[in-house]
Symmetry: C2
Subunit: 130 residues, 2 copies
């Protein structure tokens, strides 16, 4: 089973919307916005979100219960995400830092655990809000 290239109708509608926003969107705000396109129920939104997260088109910002598009064209980083979050204006940016990724990818604890995913969220104040 290889990576799916074609998205379903609902998945497309919802990915479109998220990609048009440069900031994370919440599930019920997405629902509100796609009602005009015939998506009526939370579950329809959550199902599409689940799929889009799974294939790496979007990421969930766990501390905010919100979803942001992955700007990385290859979208192979669903399993290794780093974000910076401004606690004042709530601006969220995905961080791609080679050295940091390397470090995290290679991290080994002393419990013999096998990692296949990580998510890192930095919090602070962005330049505008300092």
């Amino acid at each position: 089973m290889q990576k799916q290239e074609t998205l379903s109708k609902n998945q497309k509608i919802i990915l479109d919307l998220i990609e048009k926003s440069d900031q994370p969107l919440k599930a019920y705000s997405i629902l509100f916005d796609v009602k005009k396109k015939g998506i009526n129920a939370p579950l329809q939104v959550y199902r599409a979100l689940d799929k889009l997260v799974e294939i790496g088109k979007i990421h969930k910002i766990e501390s905010r219960n919100a979803f942001i598009a992955c700007k990385n064209s290859k979208c192979q980083i669903a399993k290794a995400t780093v974000f910076s979050i401004c606690e004042s204006c709530e601006d969220v940016t995905e961080i791609h830092d080679h050295k940091l990724s390397e470090h995290l990818r290679n991290f080994k604890d002393n419990k013999g655990m096998k990692y296949n995913k990580y998510n890192l969220e930095f919090f602070g104040l962005c330049k505008k809000c300092i």
Copy 2:
């Protein structure tokens, strides 16, 4: 205003409970357990949790909406947390790795953002579940 040494009644009850568990507890499971101690409403639980998180006695596992006690006696790491989470048995362990902490503490993005906190969650399979 220095670090508060004395916790209020509700805060103590709830911290006690969380410290007795070596795994994260969810707010409503905490509520259920403390009803016999006279805590009746979600808000009473959430208020205590907020405070305990703020002073570093517990941490929130964001991806699980659950709370775990901080084992670090000094509890000064509320703002710099790393966890490993087994996706099979849901076992959660707080990680203290000097080199990793150093790396994360010193991380600078290229946006001039000032960080004061981070949270990192590793996912995978623990030794038992591999």
